[in-house]
């Protein structure tokens, strides 16, 4: 695995459990030693440096605040260890409390704060010693859903203002897309794809990334000799592709929200029978049965969606087809 993170970037490591994203973070922090390879920060190899010498700080998933120290003492911990003077530390603590909007909370114990406040203290503590690189391990996972979007926006704004490089680990696709400058999608210890949110979402590099990014329609098939059509046995249909592709076995993915109900000229057309619909507020997702075993998912905005009855026609443009080698 070869990965370069740019200075001042908010880089998100995205992956499911067991994908190795946390292990990678811990290797950068110095808590696990990589079997091979080098970790270089601003030209210096961190390889054998113990964690307490690295100019890298971590915001742990659980916060890992010191329960016996006040909020102020927690934030002061880093600067004090780095040899900052008492008066300078006090000023820095005030500055950081203001940064995370916790003025006046310095004297409290971590146990007296809410989950969101604790997470903000952990962030302030990580930033206090002005690290070259801040590692964040699922910083939003412990928060309530409502709080999460706001905190994510705040975190991004803060990162842009400070210009500190952030590497953030998450398993939440949506969190990654909304926060990242660039995303590294991990799978089984390897990088499946590295790119901007748009690149990763719109042109996934392989079937795994496509599935992770919510491409629910993924069919196996064979690209014909002309390179422009693909035969999909499950749907008993041939699908036109947008760009020439090497002939042979392949897989094709189409996002559910790129498929329209009704005939649209110039697109691929399929006919099937609606089986069930799932309402999720903003959208409705229909499962349409094609032939024996084929299921096509179609997502449309819930507002104005018609009730489906009897056989329907599905259309999607060739440009909506993502082709992956098998």
């Amino acid at each position: 695995m070869d990965l370069t993170v740019h200075r001042g970037e908010l880089f998100v490591l995205l992956g499911g459990s067991g994908s190795g994203k946390t292990t990678l973070l811990r290797a950068i922090g110095g808590f696990v030693r990589p079997d091979a390879g080098a970790i270089v920060l601003n030209g210096a190899d961190l390889g054998r440096m113990p964690p307490h010498r690295r100019p890298v700080n971590t915001v742990f998933q659980s916060g890992a605040l010191f329960p016996h120290l006040s909020v102020a003492a927690n934030i002061a911990f880093g600067p004090r260890q780095r040899g900052m003077k008492r008066t300078a530390v006090a000023a820095r603590v005030e500055e950081l409390l203001a940064l995370v909007r916790l003025e006046g909370f310095g004297g409290r114990r971590p146990s007296e704060l809410s989950g969101g406040q604790q997470q903000r203290v952990a962030l302030a503590r990580g930033l206090a010693a002005e690290p070259s690189l801040l590692l964040l391990d699922e910083p939003l996972a412990a928060l309530d859903r409502g709080l999460r979007a706001d905190t994510a926006a705040e975190l991004v704004a803060l990162q842009k203002r400070l210009g500190t490089t952030f590497i953030l680990v998450t398993h939440d696709q949506n969190e990654a897309l909304t926060m990242a400058d660039r995303i590294g999608v991990m799978r089984a210890g390897r990088m499946a794809q590295v790119g901007t949110p748009r690149e990763v979402f719109e042109t996934p590099a392989n079937r795994f990334v496509a599935e992770f990014m919510g491409v629910t329609n993924l069919w196996k098939g064979t690209v014909g000799g002309d390179g422009m059509t693909m035969d999909v046995p499950l749907l008993s249909a041939a699908i036109r592709l947008a760009a020439p592709t090497a002939a042979g076995p392949a897989a094709v993915g189409v996002r559910a929200e790129r498929i329209r109900i009704g005939a649209v000229s110039g697109g691929n057309q399929l006919r099937g029978v609606p089986e069930r619909s799932v309402y999720s507020g903003e959208t409705v997702t229909h499962a349409i049965r094609l032939g024996q075993n084929g299921i096509v998912f179609v997502t449309e905005p819930a507002h104005g969606a018609a009730h489906l009855d009897g056989e329907v026609t599905l259309s999607f443009p060739p440009s909506a087809c993502l082709v992956f080698p098998r």
Binding site: G30, F31, H52, V56, S62, Q81, A129
Partner: protein
């Protein structure tokens, strides 16, 4: 849940009453009684004279003072030896901790007498240490029946009571806190001083109580290793009870001992809390 909880609550109060409050009341009643030539050797009454005598007699006071001093030294010794032991076990991988704990504690629980005797054998005037000293050309030293011999025996005996609670506390310590300390630039030593040590204070407090309280009343080890000079309060009590058959005086001494054992650690704890060391 409610039923079993009520039952347990009832049981524990019954227990407290039967084995803690009742005997204490009896001992207090005897302490306030008058000695007599009857069986049992006292007649009930209200005579605070025994308590006053126990508290004021210089001999008893010296014995109490010696007991508290010995217990304090034992406690400090157990802490200095036991804390690193507990820490060492807590740092091991989880699966071998229980085995290690048992392996380390086993020598302290088995053959207590045998090992006390081994110490006697080593420390006595014609023992191994003096034998080695003589062989090397030094004059033999008096080792047995000294303060040092007593302390060694006491620390050796009470060590498990310090190791266990400290270990229990350290094992509960979130290892992530040490990672966080390292991450923030603390060397292992500083992480220990600023995170591990303050967070283990409750374990230390429990260990101190578990060592100090029984050590104050100890009467076997001083007799075996400390010699006739080691007139600890436990020994004095024994003599009053069996040799002098002065039950009210023995009971008064027991009350005095109990009071100093409960009040002293409480005072120490208060001071600790006030200084902000507690969690």
């Amino acid at each position: 849940m409610t039923f079993s909880r009520g039952l347990s609550l009832g049981l524990s109060w019954l227990w407290l009453a039967l084995f803690s409050i009742l005997p204490l009341s009896i001992v207090l009643a005897i302490a306030l009684a008058r000695p007599a030539d009857t069986v049992p050797p006292f007649s009930f009454g209200f005579d605070p004279g025994n308590l006053a005598a126990a508290a004021s007699d210089p001999l008893y006071r010296a014995a109490l003072w010696l007991s508290l001093r010995t217990a304090a030294i034992t406690t400090v010794g157990c802490l200095l030896i036991g804390y690193p032991m507990a820490l060492a076990i807590a740092l091991m991988p989880e699966r071998c901790r229980a085995t290690l704990l048992l392996a380390m504690m086993l020598p302290f629980w088995t053959g207590f007498l045998m090992r006390i005797n081994a110490w006697i054998g080593m420390l006595r005037d014609d023992g191994w240490i003096n034998g080695a000293l003589v062989l090397l050309g030094f004059a033999p030293a008096r080792l047995l029946y000294t303060g040092a011999a007593l302390w060694i025996g006491m620390i050796y005996t009470y060590l498990p009571f310090m190791v266990l609670p400290v270990y229990a506390r350290l094992a509960k310590l979130d290892p992530l806190l040490l990672e966080a300390a390292a991450d923030l630039g603390a060397s292992p030593l500083r992480a220990f001083l600023r995170v591990t040590l303050p967070l283990s204070v409750p374990g230390i407090a429990a260990g101190v109580a578990l060592v100090f309280i029984p050590a104050t009343g100890e009467f076997v080890i001083p007799d075996l290793l400390g010699g006739p000079g080691a007139r600890l309060i436990g020994r004095v009590l024994w003599e009053e009870f069996f040799n002098n058959r002065d039950w009210p005086m023995a009971a008064s001494l027991a009350m005095l001992l109990l009071a100093s054992m409960v009040l002293l650690p409480l005072a120490a704890w208060r001071i600790l809390v006030r200084r902000g060391f507690a969690v």
